[in-house]
Symmetry: C3
């Protein structure tokens, strides 16, 4: 990276108040402990104050509060974290798509591919697929029949789209993600399982991000919906007919069972599990490794899970847990006795 | 889909009692809220009664109980859910396999491939592989040396089979699944790990379904066994030397550690974890996000896990959890004191 | 396998004391229940003593303790498990890499590939990639620009390396693993998420093993580090900027959030979740399905999680759990009253 940007320019980009040398040329951005001369850095809380003193960066992004006693060049911003993201974007702009279709790709003649799309090596594209302008499909991805992919959407290497999947614009899907696999639907038939053919599809909105090896099942009937702005981390499972509302962010290894409806602007912590056929309201925050088996009807922070303890203490307490109902009954008896 | 089927025909297919217009032509099946005129729908419990009133379907599948007050065309069935699955299958019959071997596939000359198999683009097939009649292997799948795949089995795009994997008939494996990877076996050797070469394989039965990005490890010695009729959802981990009995169904994101033996007709809820070297009896139901660390010796429903609560309540209770053994001791002391 | 090795040779390989017929020819190794005449087996604890009596193996590996009353041919070893691993390695030596580059692979002209590397079918290799001696890259793997792979490292089928990933020597990566995908980093920007471009990379050491469909995210800034000798099972998620110390072993389905630092020689049980921005000391053992949300500062065994119980008991106790703080308060009140 050979870009350099003046501190003044970075103040403009991040809408920050500049204190110090406006003409200073900044060569890049690093964390407080790794930054070298010429670079800018940032601190997103009081706990970084100690690192700030030892930091070699030529400028830092700070809140007004943290900046009070800082002597160096500083960009003062309400949200140093957002400003940091904006600075990274300034130093590493998205590269223009170089239109090309690799000769090793296998593309059905009925597919419609915009002139300026990029189709990588060994990509396979099925019948009636529609690929819009500036789409990037990296090596080894497989797009089955009747899929559509909107403008500027980027599929990294080895993404799989089952048939009839619809993807919006400016969406990014990471390697190994599988979109549109069969939902897990079986009807009991004596002691066996009768497969319920999954005839729906998956619809994904704009500005969505889907992590590596995440799986999203097609609907049994109708569609599984991922709304605009949703961010899904790696190794997430989204069951059939799930609906996820706008700008909800879900961390890695979350399992969402079939027909769950998740609201808008929710944040779901990693390794949580959400049962099927329930609803979660807008603006719900669920902390990591939580278990949701009933609908959540109002915004707020919800938690479950048991943090680790020394093994020998955990063993004692977990045995007591199995006696908890008895303990409660004993307490009630004691209360009665004492009242008498 | 342009198939139409008479209500009478659907009654025959589903072994239902028909009440209403037997000659009515049905054009498809949808959920209660989405069904339009000409379609059939179904309700699988009292909670759908309200939707039933507003439903535009021309016929519905109901239990005798739910049908009592319903005025429209109805198929009366003990299991509307199974009947729905049968109707879907009638409207969307499996398409006959169109035999073909894509020219981009790479197939070792020693492999034996039935005449009527379908081998998609960029499929790679190793030495001595045997592919039976009517097998479908979709684009990008990789079948390593000495694997065998039984009749009518369907591998979706980008399935990986390690060497020596055996797959039965009428089995379906979804994209990204990896079958036969090394089990996680290491012997401690001073402060390092000495790899235990995994020389076994994986054997998968008939009518099995394996979800997207699920992983099944080869045995250390011998075989990892998935019996006939087993249904595995997405993102499941099956450790080496695990044995899963007939018709057991396992929901997404379950982890089963090495050498666990799971019985027949079990149902394991999503995001559960099962420790290694234990046994679970036949007909055991384990609810979602459960933790199994000892053998389960008799049929029944087993549960663990802590449902979410408001964060501030959870915080209080989880601190008390760490004091649980002390609380129990205090209760006992109080009981003793009061007795005196 | 047609190798045969004398019992004496196996005693040398495993540094065992031999009791019995030193010249006995051993044809292979199997578990106690499966071993047949001519094979060697092993027992790794008292619970296998009953199987030992019925075992048909011609020799067994035992501790001195277990060997006391055993009449047959025996290798006496402090660690029969390690000796078993050494015997397997003796019977199944790594095969020499047959240098070849499959004609269907797509390799950028700027890549540097050692003469004796193996590049399988449909492999894609980007710009400036460096592949060292005796590296094996199996079919369908994709190596993006500027990656480097050290000597003797083995990538199974369909591994994906994002750009700038560095892999050490003698490392093994299983199918479907994705190394270097974007970390999950977004800054809140009004009610939306502003993507923080992830400009770091992943650095993986020597003798590392990475399981099937495991994902390791690139750093936001700097590097995600997996040190020498680390063993990762299947379906693990490693967030951006995580650091994992030498010889730590992590079982399947573990989620480690961004910027967590895990010490050396730790063992983390399957399906555990570790929050971000915390540290775990060296030599920490975390049992399965545990939840770690604070730093662990000293070596030891740590646990959490709730083992299954019969569903009706669990239901009662879990309701009491939500009353735990009130129960503790009641106990205190009772104590006060009684004191009076």
């Amino acid at each position: 990276m050979t870009t350099t940007l003046s501190l003044n320019k970075l103040a403009q980009i991040t809408t920050s108040e500049l204190r110090g040398n406006a003409d200073l040329l900044i060569t890049g951005i690093s964390s407080l402990d790794a930054a070298t001369k010429g670079e800018i850095s940032f601190a997103i809380g009081r706990k970084y104050l100690s690192q700030l003193d030892a930091c070699n960066a030529s400028a830092v992004i700070l809140t007004a509060d943290l900046a009070t006693n800082y002597k160096g060049n500083v960009l003062i911003n309400k949200s140093p974290y957002l400003a940091y993201a904006q600075v990274v974007a300034a130093f590493y702009p998205e590269q223009a798509v170089v239109a090309s279709i690799h000769p090793s790709s296998v593309i059905d003649s009925s597919a419609s591919i915009a002139n300026d799309a990029y189709i990588g090596a060994n990509v396979v594209i099925g019948k009636n697929v529609v690929i819009a302008k500036a789409v990037v499909i990296e090596a080894g991805s497989i797009i089955n029949d009747n899929c559509s992919i909107g403008e500027n959407t980027h599929l990294h290497a080895k993404v799989t789209l089952y048939e009839n999947t619809q993807i919006g614009q400016n969406t990014r899907i990471h390697s190994g993600a599988v979109i549109g696999s069969d939902g897990f639907g079986y009807a009991p038939d004596q002691s066996k399982w009768y497969k319920i053919k999954q005839i729906g599809n998956v619809i994904i909105g704009n500005q969505v991000e889907i992590g590596a090896n995440t799986t999203i099942d097609r609907a049994a009937l109708g569609s599984t919906h991922i709304a605009d702005g949703v961010k899904l981390d790696n190794l997430i499972q989204i069951g059939h007919n799930v609906r996820i509302g706008e700008h909800t962010a879900i961390a890695a290894c979350v399992a969402i069972a079939g027909s769950a409806t998740i609201g808008k602007r929710c944040q779901i912590g990693g390794a949580s599990a959400i049962a099927g056929h329930l609803s979660i309201a807008d603006d719900v925050i669920i902390t990591g490794m939580s278990m949701v088996i009933r609908s959540i009807k109002s915004a707020g922070v919800y938690s479950s899970g048991m943090p680790v303890n020394e093994n020998r203490k955990w063993r004692k307490n977990i045995i007591r847990f199995t006696q908890l109902d008895k303990m409660a009954q004993k307490i009630r008896q004691l209360e009665k006795r004492i009242k008498r």
